[in-house]
Symmetry: C2
Subunit: 335 residues, 2 copies
Amino acid sequence: MILALDAMGGDKAPDINVEGAILAVKQSDDDILLVGKQDILYAQLDKWSKKYSFDKSRIRVVNATEIIEMGEHPANAARHKKDSSMAVCCKLVAAKQADAFISMGNSGAAMATSLLYFKRISGISRPAISISFPTISGRCTIVDAGANVDCKPEHLLQFAIMGDIYSKSVLGVKNPKVAILSIGEEETKGNELVFETSKLLKQTDLNFIGNIEGGDIPKAKADVVVCDGFVGNVFLKSSEGIAEMILKLIKNSIKANPLYWGATPFLKLAMKSVRKKADYDEAGGAPLLGVNSTCIIGHGKSNSKAVKNALFAASRCAKKNISNIIEEEIKKFQN
Amino acid sequence: MILALDAMGGDKAPDINVEGAILAVKQSDDDILLVGKQDILYAQLDKWSKKYSFDKSRIRVVNATEIIEMGEHPANAARHKKDSSMAVCCKLVAAKQADAFISMGNSGAAMATSLLYFKRISGISRPAISISFPTISGRCTIVDAGANVDCKPEHLLQFAIMGDIYSKSVLGVKNPKVAILSIGEEETKGNELVFETSKLLKQTDLNFIGNIEGGDIPKAKADVVVCDGFVGNVFLKSSEGIAEMILKLIKNSIKANPLYWGATPFLKLAMKSVRKKADYDEAGGAPLLGVNSTCIIGHGKSNSKAVKNALFAASRCAKKNISNIIEEEIKKFQN
C-alpha cells in the first residue's frame, strides 16, 4: 500500500509525523508519501536518519505549499487552501497515486477535505467517524464519534451498517453485536432518536441487541455501538477524563500516605500496562467511514507511536477495501 | 426536619432503607417517617434495634398498602397507585406533615409522583435531576442527569438557573462557574441545542464560562454543568463504567504478575480511599429541582450509607428551602 500522510497536521508536526512514518516503514511493507513543505520535510528526514536506519526509497516527500491550522474553519479551509498538505494528500489518493489519506491535523478540515475530493459513497447521507474503544476484553467500534452532531434515525441506521462492516472486515469480529447507546437497557428508555432508530435497526439483518448504557461499553457487551456524534464525542472525551482522574486519585492517595509508599514501584508498572490497554495511541486513528477512499483521522496530540498505528490502520482499511464493501452493502440494503 | 422515606423502594428495600433511617437519626436531629407496609416495617425496626440503639420515638411508621415496582410505567403507577409508599410520602409532604420526600425506588415513578402531588414551581417548564459529581477537588452539580431526554434551549436555561441556586445555597459555592456540556471548548463546537442555549445563558447574570468537555468535569473546571437529560445520563453511567474498568484493569494486571503482588495490600487501601472519594453513596441521592417541595431520588442499588446520606441531603435542601428560592429567582428572571 502507498499511504499519503499529512506531515504538517497535529500539535507536534512535522517531527512526530516524520518519526511515525519511519517507524511504520520499519515495521511494515507499506510505502509512505510525506506531504507538506518539502524543505522542512527533507531536513526532518535528515534529522531522523541519524537516529533510525530505514529504507529511504520507501518514504518520498511530496510538496504542498499551504498548511491548514488547528483553529481554522474546516469547510472554508478545505475549499480555499487547494495546495494544503491535506488537499494534496487527497488529490494523490483520488488520482490513485496513493491508497489512503492520514491526518493528525484539524479533524473537521480533514473530514471536509476528504468529502470534497473523495465524495460520499453513493447512498450514504453522512460519513461518520468510527472509534475503536478499549473494553475489558478487546475493542468496541463506536460510530459516530463526532462527525455529525445533529442526526436523524436514517443516519444512525447507516452508521450501524458501516460499523458492522468495519467490525467484521477490519477487526475480524464474527456476527458483531450491534447496540444503540441509550440511558437504560429497557426498550422504553431513551429519547426520540433512540426509539425511531431502534425501529429501523430491528428491520435489518444486523445482529441488533437493543439499547446499551455507556457504562456497559467497557464491559464489552456490544461490538458496535451507534449514536449521534455529539453523544459519541461526549462519551469519548468523558471517558478519557474519568480514566485520568481515577489514575490521579490513586497516585495522590499513595503520595499522601507514607504507609502506601511501598506500592509505588509496583503501581507504576501496573498503571503502565493499564495505560497501554486503554491507550488511544494503540488505536492510532479513527477511520472516516462513508467516503470513497480510506481516510484515517488521528488525535492532534498524537505521538510518533500513534502516527505509526494510524498508518497501520490506514493500510488495513485500504487492503480490505472498506469503502467498496460499504457501497455494496448499502446498495443491497436499499434493494 | 421531618423526612418521609419511601421504605419500600430500591433493590434492597426495606432492609437497607430501615437501617439507613436508623443511621440517620443517630447522626442528626431529623425525625423520620418510614412509609410502607406497616407489618413489615415494624418487624424491620425490631430486627435492627437488636443491632443499633437509637431513639425509637424519632422513627415513626406510616402505613401504605401499595408498592411501585422497579419495572412499572412511571406515569401510570403514579396516577393509579394512590396508596403506594411514594404517594403516601408525597401526601404527607403536601399536607405539611413532613418536609421532604426521599426514594430509592423506580426513579421515573418518584419523579412522576412528586410532580403529581407537589406540582411544578410556577415558571419552571421541566423539573430536572441534579447530580453532585465527584471531581479531583470537590463536586460538580450536573443538571439534568436524566429527567428530560429531549430538551429545548429554554429548558436548559432553567436547569442552569436551578443548578446555580443549588450550588450556592446547598453546596455553599460562591459565584458558581456555570458551563454547558459540549464537544469542545470553542464556541463553534456543539450542536444546535448548545448554540441556542449559549445565546440565552450569555444574557443572564450567571457566571457563564461557556462550553466544557465531559473530560473537564472531573478536573473541576466548572461548578455547574447543564445538559440535556439524555446526554447527562450517558455521561453519568459511562463515568461509573469507566471508573470500574480502570480499577478492574489495575487489579487484573497486579493479579497476573507475581512481581506486583507486594503492592496488593497498599493498593487495596489506596483504592478504598479513591472509591470513597468517587463514591455515589457519599452523595446518597439527587434532588429533583423545580417541584414545590423537596424530593431526593437515590440509586436503586443504594446501601444503607447511601440511604443515610440521601436523608441528610433531603434535610439540607428542606432547611434551605430550595424550592422557594428557585421560585423567587425564576420570577426575578422573568421580570
